[in-house]
Symmetry: C2
Subunit: 195 residues, 2 copies
């Protein structure tokens, strides 16, 4: 609220502290509560101070989204490409659910950050290992990624009136994997021209 600081005095704020504060605010009070002003107050600083560490709110969100994918591993070199693809996408799915408030943001922008690019390279590498390259590979990558993000978005904010809420929670976990299997089967089958 009141920084008790006169112009020229430092607060010792770092870019990392700003991001950490944003993550905490997001987890505790949700996306709607993540405002530059609220974040500043939490950090004991004036709102405009944040602009010394972050370009703007958009850049902050973009980085938060990308960071969420940091826990997704790189593909293992020895495993079956299809199993590994499943593992990678499933890990991405879980990573998104770990920061549910960010999922809508993810969709809104598409995440071109370094982590998203790393994930893209991993998927592309596995597809190539399975003989899927070029345009079909880009097709497959796109389908897998948007399926994963899209599904996470629906899990976060369930909207389609299809089941009673009791069943929903138990069903939901397996449903993602099921659809992912269908897609992987289609991708693998497409190699021999069955599309």
């Amino acid at each position: 609220m009141d920084p008790r600081r006169t112009p020229g005095q430092r607060a010792g704020l770092t870019r990392g502290a700003v991001l950490a504060g944003a993550r905490a605010l997001l987890a505790e009070r949700g996306l709607g509560a993540l405002t530059m002003r609220a974040l500043a107050e939490r950090l004991g600083v004036r709102p405009n101070t944040l602009y010394s560490h972050v370009a703007d709110k958009d850049a902050l969100l973009e980085e938060l989204v990308d960071d969420a994918l940091a826990v997704v591993p790189d593909p293992a070199g020895d495993a079956d490409w299809r199993d590994e693809l499943h593992r990678l996408m499933s890990a991405s799915h879980r990573a998104l659910l770990a920061a549910p408030e960010l999922v809508p943001v993810t969709l809104g922008r598409g995440s071109r950050g370094p982590q998203a690019q790393r994930l893209g390279r991993g998927v592309t590498e596995l597809l190539a290992r399975g003989g899927v390259t070029g345009a079909p590979a880009r097709e497959a990558l796109r389908v897998l990624v948007l399926y994963t993000i899209g599904f996470a978005a629906f899990e976060v904010r369930p909207g389609f009136p299809d089941a009673d809420p009791d069943e929903r929670r138990t069903e939901l976990g397996g449903t993602y994997d099921r659809g992912l299997q269908w897609l992987l089967a289609g991708i693998a089958g497409g190699r021999t021209g069955s599309g």
Copy 2:
């Protein structure tokens, strides 16, 4: 800007006019420009006047999203269930792309409106015609819907760095259908227990 109206005088505004104005504003200037105040100005009315016709901004967006699905047909009674399912989801996909600015909103809430429910019933009916009922049907519905919305979101705001922009536009149209075919094949195959 200046309504030239004193308290008590009517502007002749209707709920329909408010929605139409919102749609126009959305199409012309984008989601960011769709504010209650801008909408009011466009309608020649004070901002708070809108609250005589709409509960709040959230309700307005919700209705806009749902209305966008009105062009999706009901399933035809005589066609093959899988073809018809493809037709229905493809029409939904196109309907969303016709109002690209609304797609992020769609994801954010999940659309429980009458049109979304009608679509849900149509899909469920077709699945039943193919012998898919109960929990697997709900699974399939969920996968199809989120795939469709998720894909639309990615088309609207391309983010994944995978191809040069020239190819992208030509590839994009077919990619949705391709993934949809994979999913439908998986759903149909799942009937006989190949999951």
